[in-house]
Symmetry: C2
Amino acid sequence: MEEKEVQSEVTDKYSLRGRVFNRLREDILSGKYESNEELREITIGAEMGVSRTPVREALRQLELEGLVKIVPNKGAFVTGISAKDIHDIYYIRSYLEGLCAKWACEHITAEQLEQLEETIYLSEFHARKKHMEQIVELDNKFHEIIYEACDSKMLRHILSDYHHYVERVRKVSLSDVNRATKSNEEHTKILEAIRAKDAELAEHLAHEHIIKTIDNLNRCGL
Amino acid sequence: MEEKEVQSEVTDKYSLRGRVFNRLREDILSGKYESNEELREITIGAEMGVSRTPVREALRQLELEGLVKIVPNKGAFVTGISAKDIHDIYYIRSYLEGLCAKWACEHITAEQLEQLEETIYLSEFHARKKHMEQIVELDNKFHEIIYEACDSKMLRHILSDYHHYVERVRKVSLSDVNRATKSNEEHTKILEAIRAKDAELAEHLAHEHIIKTIDNLNRCGL
DNA sequence: ACGAGTATTATTGTATACAATTTACTTGAT
DNA sequence: ATCAAGTAAATTGTATACAATAATACTCGT
């Protein structure tokens, strides 16, 4: 089967800048740096074995991502992402995932419907086996397919961004097997609504799906 | 009165990179470049009298903004922003402005309420006088105040971005004096709902406010 | 000992130099 | 004339050099 590369990485993976960008983003999101910690170009460059140039470019990009604050002539400081930020993102996503599912009803292809079905089917298998790694990956895939299907560059862009932001938290949430199973059931219902072209229902279900995820996170004490 | 600088410019205005970034963004959004047009680092640098370094950093940032697509080892190409993109952004905004108004109910300060009132009052004046420039500026301000008041870094960030994206279109929409007047009435109702801490109503009104703006755009043939 | 002012150092901002890659062109064989 | 291969030119990717700014340390007077 042809495995379509999901374009979650905006930035070139293979250039030095891309590598620095991705690694810094990962490190910031995973909490390796303190909040407000200063990121010195030379230091980071030395750590990664590159010159200042790619580091600077990566830092400037991270500024736009909101993960770093750059003070002119002073330096780059880690902004990080607080528990409230994550909470807010989930609420924002609850609306946008709803809108996305609604639009997907109009634009989804038979092939994409097929892919969604397959994704859920596989995910049910891995949920029974408690293969957490695969569950998260398939959750990723399910949502990314709908992002594609909504046929909106803007909506896909923002949702992919947020999906990335909360990746670490999603892993925790889905580690709860009960939640993973529930999540699959919700995915199934969303798929059925989209297949039936019931835009209202699809929107509502996708919205509720995220709200329930938030509830679960709260239960996990996040 | 202390005029608080609205931080719509993420990027340092005074560095060369910041200037290149802002100018390129403006030029792309205003349609100065063709879609898919190649942006050569040297050419742009020459046009703006700077070296490649600040140009590269600006281009990398614009990539993250989605205004430029960078193909490794080949170049930077204008992505631009289509009529559909703008349409999509307005729909996305309709939800997010609703959410923003809802959250603002909980967090808005007396001072911010005061500012909102003043903004509307002034805007009514300029609407009667047909001072289009000021009307757009005050519309900006009204929304930015609420973005601040929602007390969510993430939501403010994304809404400010989108506000910027559609700035050119907003000017067209508000050039219709009838729309400008209507818009002020809607702003007033939103303000009242927020002041009354009626989160449900505020959300609904803010949502509808954007939907009506979309209707108006459609009537203008955008 | 303390603080103002200055010199030194460190760091960022920008320009340029060099390397790697891609694109365009030229040349030659069929 | 057409196409292919190879070479030259142009362009991007990265590193380094230089300039400007900010942080630090030091001197000197009180």
